[in-house]
């Protein structure tokens, strides 16, 4: 187990380094610089700014400088928000994005469990067909459209929730549903198909023949063996939550990392772009590692060597 974790960790570090390099290169070959204004700054000011942020150095030197800072956990200064470092900004925005992501994941699980169970248990019934239909609908609805619909109906027409002003629990309802809907649909679809397969296994028939209660058969025998396929998609699912949070933060004006990334891209705020990309990648790598380790807990047949 120890060796497995170590190997995966080094693999994760390699991925992060690849992400850092790729982002760095892409950023710098993109036309436009961080201090391009409509009214051009005087050349002396430009030169000073470039010198201050080492932008006058050759690219490889800038890259090494960045990596050196990264080793010490220093993500550099923000070009846009003077007096604030990227680490500062991320420290204040990551909890917001994280909370949104966790709420959405919770929503997805709470919705998909009963839906998937119902559909699988009453396979080929009208309930099954409805769940399938709803799931396809949920996967097909882009979250900016769903968010727009929710705002239009619940905020503008009914006035139940305020759109925007992240903070109070009420303000989190609509963003959570918006972000969680597609993962909920995806999960219930997956749960349904794996459960249907599991319920057809011999040991389920045996369990029933023994006279076990249906609830025991369903929750103890069937559910337990349907968990692994769901764990497998957790990685991509988290990625979907991450990318989805960009849009949801944008729509609901939530002060999270995704919104900062969007403005950083338009402003060419290099350290900010790097910082957010790296944090998101680290989250993904960490989540995938956690999922792999959970495998060995839920399924003893998986060896982690």
């Amino acid at each position: 187990m120890g060796r497995f974790i170590l190997r995966r960790l080094s693999h994760g570090l390699a991925v992060l380094l690849a992400v850092a390099t790729l982002t760095f290169v892409l950023m710098h070959i993109t036309p436009g610089g961080p201090f391009d204004r409509e009214q051009r700054l005087p050349p002396q000011v430009m030169a000073n700014l470039y010198a201050k942020y080492h932008l006058d150095q050759p690219l490889w030197k800038q890259y090494l400088l960045y990596l050196k800072g990264l080793m010490r956990g220093d993500l550099g200064p923000s070009y846009k928000y003077l007096h604030r470092t990227v680490t500062d900004i991320i420290a204040s925005t990551l909890p917001v994005s994280g909370l949104l992501g966790i709420l959405a994941l919770g929503f997805a699980i709470v919705v998909s469990l009963p839906m998937g169970l119902l559909a699988a248990y009453y396979h080929n019934s009208w309930a099954d067909r409805w769940c399938l239909f709803l799931a396809t609908l949920g996967i097909s609805l882009p979250n900016f459209i769903l968010g727009g619909m929710l705002i239009w109906f619940f905020s503008l027409q009914l006035g139940w929730f305020q759109a925007g002003r992240w903070g109070s629990p009420a303000s989190m309802v609509l963003p959570t549903i918006t972000l969680g809907a597609a993962p909920a649909a995806y999960l219930s679809y997956l749960l349904r198909s794996t459960l249907i397969e599991t319920l057809g296994e011999d040991y389920i028939r045996t369990a029933r023949a023994k006279g076990l209660k249906e609830t025991v058969v369903l929750f103890k025998h069937a559910m337990r063996n349907s968990i692994n396929p769901i764990l497998t998609v957790m990685g991509p699912l988290l990625a979907a939550l991450v990318t989805g949070s960009f849009v949801v933060e944008y729509i609901f004006a939530i002060p999270g990392m995704g919104r900062f990334f969007i403005t950083a891209v338009t402003d060419r705020d290099y350290p900010m772009i790097m910082g957010v990309t790296l944090v998101y990648s680290a989250l993904l790598v960490g989540a995938n590692l956690a999922v792999d380790m959970l495998y060995s807990v839920t399924d003893p047949r998986v060896k982690t060597q």
């Binding site: 882009p142 900016f144 459209i145 503008l156 990318t243 969007i262 990309t277 990648s281």
Partner: protein, 287 residues
């Protein structure tokens, strides 16, 4: 011959499914009307018509007009060309790269295969929307730039699926037979392996097109995608939705129709994909 028979079988399955048929019909309708838009619509997608700003749907403007008085239906059909071109084009490009890569990786020696798959793993652990945004900045925020950047992000899906199938089929008796009578590697790959993995690839293809359309429209919606208000190829459905977003409070129709276009198209592709997947799943076919 086998492939032809399988497509006939697929078509049979499709015909039995009402929802899939309607989906197919809708996609065909969108494709046809958007390619013929300059003949069908009396309006131009650009320009300014001060007399008809933000009109609600009427007989002369079926979906109303936008903030510059342009006919919304016409704009949506021009947008359809952009969104569909990006969706289908990206998928085809990703298909070619990914399938070739997957065939190579699955067919090669385990050591080469391992190395090639490590690269795929790295692509898989990237936060794809972020990479996509950065790539599109470099390659240009137009149809071609977005198409290529999306393909760079998505080809790994085809690579993974193809490779998995190849590993499986490589061991089958008929491939061994072909090798025994001295068929070349190229012949084995192209004649014996490729035709037999078309099913899963087709299913992936059908699901990827709506995924790409979604990604492109999302990006255009947040203002980082296609936006060239003066060109005929500069407005996608996402751009239109972004336009409508600002006027949503007072003129909901400006966002309603582009949103519906995106939603119904993605939905149709997904319904179609579901049917194809069920049809190509051997477990299901036996019933």
């Amino acid at each position: 011959m086998v492939a032809k028979k399988r497509f006939e079988e697929l078509w049979q399955r499709l015909r039995q499914n009402q929802v899939a048929l309607w989906s197919l019909a809708f996609i065909v309708l969108v494709v046809l009307s958007s390619s013929l838009v300059s003949l069908l619509s009396p309006y131009s997608p650009g320009g300014l018509d001060e007399a008809h700003i933000l009109e609600r749907p009427s007989l002369s403007h079926w979906m109303g007009t936008d903030g510059l008085g342009r006919d919304l239906l016409t704009r949506i059909l021009y947008g359809a060309r952009v969104s569909l071109t990006v969706g289908v084009g990206t998928t085809l490009l990703a298909l070619v790269i990914g399938t070739a890569y997957g065939l190579l990786s699955g067919y090669a020696r385990p050591r080469v295969d391992n190395f090639l798959m490590r690269i795929v793993d790295i692509f898989y652990s990237l936060p794809d929307l972020l990479v996509f945004i950065l790539l599109s900045l470099v390659l240009g925020r137009n149809v071609i730039g977005l198409l290529v950047s999306l393909a760079i992000v998505t080809w790994v899906r085809f690579a993974r699926i193809t490779r998995g199938e190849v590993l499986h089929i490589k061991e089958s008796v008929y491939v061994e037979g072909a090798r025994a009578i001295g068929a070349s590697h190229a012949r084995i790959i192209l004649r014996h392996i490729l035709p037999n993995i078309m099913g899963p690839i087709l299913v992936t293809l059908t699901f990827m097109i709506p995924g790409v359309i979604l990604a492109e429209s999302t990006l255009s919606f947040i203002g980082l995608g296609i936006n060239d208000p003066y060109g005929n190829w500069g407005t996608s459905w996402g751009t239109l939705a972004q336009d409508g977003w600002r006027a949503m409070r007072t003129y909901p129709h400006v966002i309603f129709f582009p949103a519906m276009a995106i939603f119904l198209t993605i939905l149709s592709f997904n319904f179609l994909g579901n049917t194809l997947r069920d049809a190509s799943d051997p477990k299901d076919r036996m019933k």
